[in-house]
C-alpha cells in the first residue's frame, strides 16, 4: 500500500501520548483521500475494540433470522446435491410415475441421512457419546491457530496468504526437533514448540520485512514463500536426515513420545494443543484490544498514513505483525506434527493454511470469531468422514455441500435477496456495527 513512499515518523511507538493522537487522526482522516485498505471493510469493523463482533454475536444480534435461513438454504441445496448422487434416488426416479412415493422417500432419506451422519461425526452419536466432538476440536486446533495468524494480519491491513508456508516450515522444524533430538520429557516438547514457532515467525517476518523495506506486495511474497516452503519440505523428505533409517519413502520417523502434546482425554486424539489454541485466542484478543502494540497494529490496518503521522513506526509494526502472525500459524504447524499426526510428510499442512483464510474471514477477523469459525470448520472436516462412510456420499460432494453452507453463512445479503427480505431490515441490521465502523480506512 503506502509504506514505501513514506519515511517513518521516528517517534517511539511506545509513548502512550501518541495513542490518543493516533486514534484521533485515524478517525479523522478516514475520508476518501487514501487508497482503501486491501482488507474488506467488514474485517476492520470491530476495531475500536470496545465491541466484540463475533460470528455468534452477529447471529444473535439482528442477523439471526437471516443466518437460520442461510443454513436452511444451504441444507436444502446440499441435500439435493447429495440426493442426486444417491443410487436409490436415481433408481426410483426411473419409475417416478409408477410410484412417486418411493422417489420422495429415498430423496428425503438421502438428505436427512447425510446430515445426521455429519452431526454424528462431529458432535454426538449414540454409540460413542461426545467423542466426535473431541475429534472436531482436534481437527479445529491447527485451523484456529492459523486462522488467528491470518486474522491478526488482516487487522493490520495485511492480506496474509502465507499461513500454509508458515505451517509447513514450523511443522518441519518442530518435527525435526521431535524425532532427531532425544531430550527429557517436558523439555523436549517445549523445544519442539519453540522451534516450530520460531520457524513460523521467521517465515512470517520475511514477508513483513520485504513489505516494509521494499514495498513488495505481501500477497505475492506469501504465495511464493508457500511454494518455497512446500518444495523445501519435499526436498528435505528426500534426504536421509528426514527419512526413517533404511526406508526410501518420503516420510519422517515418528516423533518421540516425549516430544508430542499429551492426550487430554484417553481414547480420543484431543491433545494439549487445543488448550494452547484457546490460550492463543485469549492472547490475541488481549493483544488486539488491550495492548499498545495491538492498538498500533489496528491503527496501521485502518490507515497507515494516519498511523505514521500519529507516530506509529509502520515499518516495525508491519514486520512485527507478520512475525506474530507467522508464530500463530507456527502453533498450527506444531499442533499438526506434535498433536494430530506425530509424523512429518509432504501433506502435513493439507489445506489448513488456505482454510484458515476462510476461517478468519468467517470469524470477521476477531479472535473469538475465528475460534468459533475454526470449530465450525473442524466439525465439517470431522463430520465429512462419517458422512462419507455411513452414507457413501462421495467426499467431493461432501466438501461441495460444506462449502455451500459456509458460502451462505458468510453472505447474508445473498440469502436476503433469495427470500426477498425488505431493505428496511437490512438497514436496521447494519445499524449495530455502524458505531464501530468509524475508523474504517476504506469508504
Amino acid at each position: 500500500m503506502t509504506t514505501k513512499d513514506n519515511t517513518p515518523a521516528g517517534d517511539s511507538p511506545e509513548e502512550t501520548g501518541n495513542e490518543v493522537q493516533a486514534a484521533d487522526v485515524a478517525l479523522d482522516t478516514a475520508g476518501g483521500t487514501l487508497e482503501p485498505s486491501l482488507v474488506p471493510v467488514s474485517t476492520q469493523s470491530g476495531d475500536t475494540g470496545h465491541q466484540q463482533d463475533t460470528v455468534l454475536r452477529r447471529i444473535v444480534m439482528g442477523n439471526g433470522f437471516v443466518s437460520l435461513l442461510a443454513v436452511f438454504v444451504a441444507l436444502v441445496l446440499g441435500g439435493l446435491l447429495i440426493a442426486s448422487t444417491d443410487q436409490n434416488v436415481a433408481k426410483s426416479a426411473g419409475y417416478f410415475f409408477a410410484r412417486p412415493t418411493d422417489f420422495l422417500y429415498y430423496l428425503w432419506g438421502a438428505m436427512t441421512k447425510s446430515y445426521v451422519a455429519l452431526f454424528q461425526g462431529s458432535v454426538f452419536n449414540p454409540r460413542q457419546g461426545f467423542s466426535p466432538l473431541l475429534e472436531t476440536m482436534t481437527v479445529a486446533t491447527p485451523l484456529i491457530c492459523a486462522g488467528l495468524g491470518v486474522a491478526l494480519a488482516f487487522r493490520a491491513g495485511l492480506f496474509n496468504i502465507g499461513a500454509q508456508g508458515q505451517i509447513i516450515i514450523s511443522a518441519t522444524l518442530g518435527a525435526y526437533a521431535g524425532f532427531a533430538w532425544h531430550l527429557p520429557p517436558v523439555l523436549h516438547l517445549i523445544v519442539v514448540v519453540v522451534m516450530g514457532v520460531i520457524g513460523g515467525a521467521a517465515w512470517g517476518a520475511i514477508v513483513g520485512l520485504l513489505k516494509a523495506r521494499t514495498g513488495a506486495h505481501e500477497v505475492i511474497v506469501t504465495i511464493m514463500l508457500n511454494y518455497v516452503a512446500l518444495f523445501l519440505l519435499d526436498f528435505l523428505l528426500n534426504t536421509a536426515a528426514f527419512r526413517r533409517p533404511g526406508d526410501n519413502s518420503p516420510i519422517s520417523p515418528r516423533l518421540d513420545e516425549s516430544a508430542v502434546y499429551p492426550q487430554l482425554i484417553p481414547g480420543s486424539r484431543l491433545h494439549l494443543g487445543f488448550l494452547v489454541a484457546v490460550a492463543l485466542t485469549a492472547g490475541v484478543w488481549w493483544l488486539l484490544n488491550r495492548s499498545t502494540i495491538g492498538f498500533e497494529f489496528r491503527a496501521v490496518g485502518a490507515n497507515p498514513a494516519a498511523a505514521r503521522t500519529a507516530g506509529v513506526n509502520v515499518q516495525a509494526a508491519t514486520i512485527l505483525v507478520m512475525a506474530v502472525a507467522g508464530a500463530l500459524s507456527g502453533f498450527g504447524g506444531v499442533a499438526q506434527v506434535a498433536g494430530t499426526e506425530k509424523v512429518l510428510t509432504g501433506g502435513v499442512a493439507a489445506q489448513i493454511g488456505f482454510d484458515a483464510i476462510t476461517v478468519a474471514l468467517l470469524g470477521r477477523s476477531t479472535p473469538w470469531g475465528t475460534f468459533f469459525a475454526g470449530l465450525l470448520f473442524g466439525a465439517f472436516r470431522a463430520g465429512a468422514v462419517q458422512m462419507q462412510i455411513q452414507t457413501g456420499t462421495p467426499i467431493d460432494i461432501v466438501l461441495v455441500v460444506q462449502s455451500l453452507i459456509v458460502l451462505f453463512i458468510a453472505a447474508p445479503p445473498l440469502v436476503r435477496s433469495i427470500f426477498g427480505l425488505n431493505p428496511g431490515r437490512k438497514k436496521r441490521a447494519k445499524a449495530a456495527p455502524k458505531a464501530a465502523v468509524a475508523t474504517g480506512g476504506a469508504k
Partner: protein
C-alpha cells in the same frame, strides 16, 4: 420425454423441493416400479472396506486399481463394500476408525502414507484384518497383509523392448513424485536398456533418469497433466523417441505431447504404467508400445476372497513376473514393429528372471 417433463412441472406436486436437479432426474421417470420384495442376488454380510490416500479413487493408479479390485469382489462374491477417500493425512486415522465402527472384516489401505495409521488400527482391532497396498512393515503385524510389487522386473522388460525399438538411440522416462514405488519403475527400465546395450554392443541412452545417482525428471505431483506434457516435450527435445511416464494421470500429459509430436511427423511411442494403457487410455492407443502392468485389482480381489473363506494370512503378497503380479502388456498395434528376435529375447529374459538366473535389483525394491 419433453412432454413428460412438462407434465411433471405442470403438476407442481412438490414445487418447493423439486428444482432443476430433480427435474433432470425425472426426465427418465417413466419406467415401471420394481416388484415389492424382489430379492437381488444373494448378498453376504461380509464387509470389506477401503481407505485411499489423498490421491482418491480416481487417481488412475494404485488407489483406483485397488478400489476396482474391491468393486469386482463386491460383484463376484456378493460382499458389502464401504469406501472412504482421504483428503488430508490427518484423515487416515479417522477414516480407519470410522471403518472399524462400521464393522469392516477386511480393510484395504493404500500407500505408504497409511503405514502408521494402519498399524495403529490393526493393533487396536486385533480381530479385524487389513491389507496395505505398496507398503510393508519391517516387523510383520499379525493381522496386516502387505501387498507389494517387484515392478522393476516388468519395467526391465519394457526397457529392453524400448531400447530395441528406439530409432533415435534415446529413450526417456519421468516420474510424478520421487518415491520408491515410482522410481522402481525407472530403475527397472534403466537396467533393461543397459541389458540391451550390453547384449547388442549398442549405446542406447536413457534420458530423465539415472539409476546410479537416483536423479531424474519429476513433475512434482500426480495431477498436473500440463507439467507432464512439458517434461515430455523436453525429453523429446533431448532426442528420446520413446517415453515412459510413471505419474498416474500425468501420463496423459505425456500422451498429449507425443500425439503432437506424431502429428508433426515424428516417430514416437509411449509406454504406459500400472495398467494396460491400450485399454485404459485408449485415446493414445496408437502410440502405445507396451505397458508395465501391476495387477493390483486381481491381488486385492484374491485377498478378499481368501479372507472371506477364512484363509487370511499376514504373509506379504509380492507381485512378480512369476506369479503374474507384474507383467508387460502385449504390443497391440506395434506388434509388427517389434522384431521376432526381440520378442524371443524378451521371453528368454522373462524366463531368466522367473527362474532367478537374472536378478533385477533396485534400491527401491520392496523389502520383504
Amino acid at each position: 420425454m419433453k412432454q413428460s417433463l412438462r407434465a411433471t412441472l405442470k403438476r407442481g406436486s412438490f414445487a418447493g423441493v423439486a428444482t432443476a436437479g430433480a427435474a433432470a432426474l425425472l426426465l427418465s421417470g417413466c419406467g415401471a416400479a420394481p416388484e415389492a420384495g424382489s430379492g437381488g442376488p444373494t448378498t453376504s454380510d461380509y464387509l470389506a472396506c477401503i481407505v485411499s490416500d489423498s490421491g482418491g479413487f480416481d487417481d488412475q493408479s494404485f488407489n483406483q486399481s485397488s478400489y476396482e479390485g474391491l468393486k469386482k469382489a463386491e460383484k463376484d462374491l456378493g460382499i458389502q463394500l464401504k469406501s472412504a477417500e482421504s483428503k488430508a493425512n490427518s484423515d487416515f486415522e479417522t477414516n480407519l476408525n470410522g471403518m472399524m465402527s462400521a464393522g469392516c472384516k477386511l480393510t484395504v489401505t493404500v500407500g505408504f502414507l497409511l503405514g502408521d495409521a494402519t498399524k495403529k488400527a490393526a493393533t487396536d482391532n486385533k480381530d479385524s484384518h487389513f491389507a496395505i497396498v505398496d507398503f510393508s512393515y519391517k516387523e510383520p503385524i499379525a493381522n496386516v497383509k502387505p501387498v507389494i510389487y517387484d515392478t522393476a522386473q516388468a519395467a526391465y522388460l519394457a526397457g529392453y523392448a524400448a531400447a530395441a525399438t528406439s530409432k533415435t538411440g534415446k529413450v526417456g522416462t519421468f516420474g510424478g513424485i520421487k518415491i520408491p514405488t515410482v522410481t522402481i519403475f525407472m530403475d527397472g527400465f534403466y537396467d533393461g536398456v543397459q541389458a540391451y546395450n550390453k547384449a547388442k554392443g549398442k549405446n542406447v541412452q536413457v534420458v530423465g533418469w539415472d539409476k546410479a545417482s537416483q536423479n531424474g525428471s519429476f513433475t512434482g505431483d500426480f495431477e498436473k497433466q500440463d507439467t507432464g506434457k512439458q517434461v515430455t516435450k523436453n525429453l523429446l527435445d533431448q532426442g528420446a523417441d520413446i517415453v515412459m511416464p510413471v505419474a498416474g494421470p500425468v501420463g496423459k500429459g505425456a500422451g498429449a505431447a507425443l500425439k503432437e509430436a506424431k502429428a508433426a511427423g515424428k516417430d514416437v511411442k509411449l509406454i504406459w504404467v500400472d495398467s494396460d494403457g491400450y485399454l485404459t487410455a485408449p485415446e493414445y492407443k496408437d502410440l502405445m508400445l507396451t505397458s508395465v502392468v501391476k495387477q493390483m485389482g486381481e491381488a486385492v480381489e484374491a485377498i478378499v476372497k481368501d479372507d472371506k473363506d477364512g484363509k487370511f494370512s499376514n504373509e506379504p503378497y509380492v507381485g512378480t513376473l512369476a506369479n503374474d503380479g507384474v507383467a508387460i502388456a502385449p504390443f497391440h498395434d506395434f506388434d509388427s514393429a517389434v522384431s521376432a528376435e526381440t520378442k524371443s529375447e524378451l521371453d528368454a529374459l522373462k524366463a531368466d528372471i522367473i527362474s532367478g538366473k537374472l536378478k533385477v535389483e533396485s534400491v527401491n525394491s520392496p523389502k520383504q
